[in-house]
């Protein structure tokens, strides 16, 4: 190698090093990764999460950001696939982002949370409700939503006390979230002395449920609980109603989306859904609701306010703890309470909220919902 080449090479190497150094110095922003489904069958929920988180970032930036730095939301698409979630988590680690609002689906949150725990990244999920996520003994994992062992009993109690069905079918989609909540509901209603005639799993992405409908109809099922997401339940409703199966249906917050009415049409009328309380109806949030409405966004989705709150908690913790170190922040969050759009929140040792309420709503064919007493 002649001397000219060597000079060129060393110049190139130092340019690269300088370039990287320059990047590291240019960090005048605090990046928060917002990870959830931007594409795929349940992307509507991702929209709610992104919308809430971005609104929080915008409003907090307008108030001057944190410690003179601006916040930046980095949107990441995990399609609600566990595989993809791990890839996204790796990317977050490589990009040296220290805070994550997400993921959304329990099935993708669980594998991703391990990476965050190992790498010391603070994760707050605004949507994943499966209890196992916070039962792994992790220190970096929090959620601003309730869990299925709260939601399941809420649904189960409602079925047992209000509906009093003779013959219940509990159907789920064999995913971590769907099967988890279905088992909770089954446990609750069986404890109250009701009989579960059918407990079966369908496949994610399945489109023909006519055999299942016939089976439920011939077994004289008069109430169906479905654990899973709206694409499958929408088709089940549509195909079962067409066969003349007129039992009542109920599902968790994963089915409470306007798309269920787009898929099932009139068959979605009267569907019961357990959802977080409608925070957008809380008078304390009036100005925030107006900010969403001004942007033509709908703040009533179940994950909008929890996502907003997750961002706010991260920022409040940075301010309160006077550090950006995620591990210290996790400690701070565990010990303090925060005023957020979902109310005054405090966390248990495992990262779950100390209090969270699920409410039963009745869904209508025009994709609106009304709370039931």
């Amino acid at each position: 190698m002649n001397s000219f080449n060597r000079h060129v090479l060393s110049a190139a190497v130092s340019a690269v090093l300088l370039g990287l150094g320059g990047l590291a110095h240019a960090e005048n922003t605090i990046k928060i990764a917002v990870a959830g489904p931007i594409t795929g069958p349940v992307a509507q929920y991702g929209d709610m999460q992104m919308m809430g988180a971005q609104m929080a970032v915008e409003q907090l930036n307008a108030k001057g950001g944190v410690n003179g730095k601006q916040l930046e939301a980095v949107l990441m698409d995990d399609v609600c696939e566990p595989k993809q979630a791990v890839a996204v988590a790796n990317q977050i680690v490589n990009d040296k982002i220290k805070y994550v609002v997400g993921h959304l689906c329990s099935g993708s949150t669980q594998p991703a949370s391990k990476l965050y725990e190992d790498e010391g990244i603070l994760m707050i999920t605004p949507a994943a409700t499966n209890p196992d996520i916070t039962h792994q003994g992790y220190k970096m994992v929090f959620r601003t939503i309730g869990t299925d062992d709260q939601q399941g009993p809420t649904a189960g109690d409602y079925i047992a006390n209000q509906i009093k069905p003779k013959n219940v079918a509990v159907i789920h989609d064999k995913q971590q979230y769907g099967q988890g909540i279905a088992e909770e509901v089954k446990k609750t209603i069986e404890a109250k002395g009701f009989k579960v005639a059918l407990f079966e799993g369908v496949s994610k992405g399945q489109t023909d449920f006519s055999a299942l409908c016939t089976k439920m109809k011939s077994a004289n099922v008069d109430f169906v609980y479905y654990g899973g997401y709206h694409p499958e339940l929408g088709l089940i409703l549509r195909q079962c109603r067409e066969q003349g199966f007129d039992a009542g249906f109920m599902g968790p917050e994963g089915v409470g989306n306007k798309d269920i009415s787009a898929i099932a049409g009139p068959a979605s009328e009267g569907l019961l859904v357990t959802l977080p309380a409608d925070f957008s109806a809380d008078p304390a949030n009036a100005s925030l609701v107006k900010a969403f409405k001004d942007k033509n966004q709908d703040p009533s989705g179940p994950f909008v306010m929890p996502a907003y709150s997750a961002v706010q908690i991260i920022v409040d913790a940075i301010k309160g703890a006077k550090t950006e170190d995620p591990v210290k922040l996790a400690d701070y969050i565990r010990k303090h309470s925060f005023d957020t759009p979902i109310g005054k929140v405090a966390f248990k040792e495992n990262g779950d909220l100390k209090e969270f309420q699920f409410v039963v709503f009745k869904w209508h064919a025009d994709a609106t919902k009304t709370p039931v007493k």
């Binding site: 795929g40 079966e200 799993g201 055999a211 067409e242 049409g265």
Partner: protein, 305 residues
């Protein structure tokens, strides 16, 4: 007993769709001995064309005549997907005609991934849905007991399937081009030597297969009413299974395979558990292949010298 008949209806509806797609696999295999893995994607594209055409006609132009909408949608979908079928063969398979068998197979998988992403970019990765164009049906049985329900849509699926299958069978058995197809499936080189443009016959095979997949796609978008860019994969695997079950290369075999697969899924959900429907369907495939390696109606391949 009445539930049993209802399950038969459910299974036949599902099986008809599988059979329509399976024919595309079996025809291509019968003639050039390759598995066209992009065929499921053709079905997915036709479901999109079907849904978009129906929505455009009903919402945009306010057409209310259901048979007219149906005919127009079928025609539009068949034309467009035939073009896709032809183009796929031209771009991805013909240049590889004389290469080892594995190469076109990889090319087919590549084509399948390409088409999935192409639709995903063009139409978005989210579910599209529409309300049923044809609703209602007949109910049989007493008001008090179990009523069998046969929807107009299910009847339509069965009738359309039978019409297109009969047309295809007649075409293969009676027409000049059909005879050329049969000749090609027996010996491609020899047919070429006898002065038949085999490239044209192969193109025709792809076009016919795509046209039947188009029919299946339109029917499914009308029947299920919810589609996304990934439905082709599942349906493709099931239809391929149906083709192998019936004997790949045999057209009546593909029809039989589709129906058997549909019925077995339906009965497995009904009398075992819904979780087991795929287990039963694929166990059946393994059993059939163990005892009849060429499938139910397939002919053993004769070693050509």
């Amino acid at each position: 007993m009445l539930e049993f008949f209802q399950q038969v209806i459910n299974g036949l509806t599902l099986g008809s769709i599988y059979a329509l797609i399976a024919i595309g696999y079996t025809m291509v295999y019968g003639i050039i001995g390759m598995i066209n893995f992009a065929h499921g994607e053709i079905y997915m594209i036709s479901a999109y064309i079907g849904l978009i055409t129906v929505t455009a006609l009903t919402v945009q132009f306010g057409v209310e005549n259901v048979p007219l909408i149906l005919l127009f949608t079928l025609a539009a979908s068949i034309l467009a997907t035939s073009a896709y079928g032809w183009a796929i063969e031209r771009i991805a398979y013909r240049p590889l005609r004389s290469s080892p068998r594995l190469i076109p197979l990889i090319s087919a998988i590549g084509m399948s991934i390409f088409l999935q992403n192409y639709v995903q970019i063009g139409q978005g990765a989210r579910d599209l849905s529409m309300q049923p164009l044809i609703s209602g049906g007949w109910r049989f049985g007493s008001d008090a007991g179990f009523q069998i329900y046969l929807s107009y849509m299910q009847v339509l699926i069965a009738v359309v399937t039978v019409i297109f299958m009969t047309a295809l069978t007649l075409f293969i058995a009676r027409s000049r081009l059909g005879r050329a197809c049969r000749a090609c499936s027996q010996d491609l080189t020899m047919t070429n030597l006898l002065g038949i443009d085999t490239n044209r016959v192969i193109s025709l095979t792809f076009v016919l297969g795509a046209a039947l997949a188009a029919v299946a796609g339109v029917l499914i978008s009308l029947h299920i009413g919810k589609i996304n860019p990934f439905i082709g994969f599942d349906a493709g695997i099931k239809a391929f299974t149906a083709a192998v079950l019936g004997g790949i290369g045999s057209i009546p075999g593909a029809m039989l395979g589709g129906i058997i697969l549909g019925l077995s899924e339906s009965f497995a959900s009904a009398y075992l558990r819904t979780e087991y429907k795929d287990v039963v369907a694929f166990s059946l495939l393994v059993l059939v292949l163990l005892f009849r390696p060429t499938g139910l109606l397939g002919k053993p391949e004769i070693e050509k010298v």
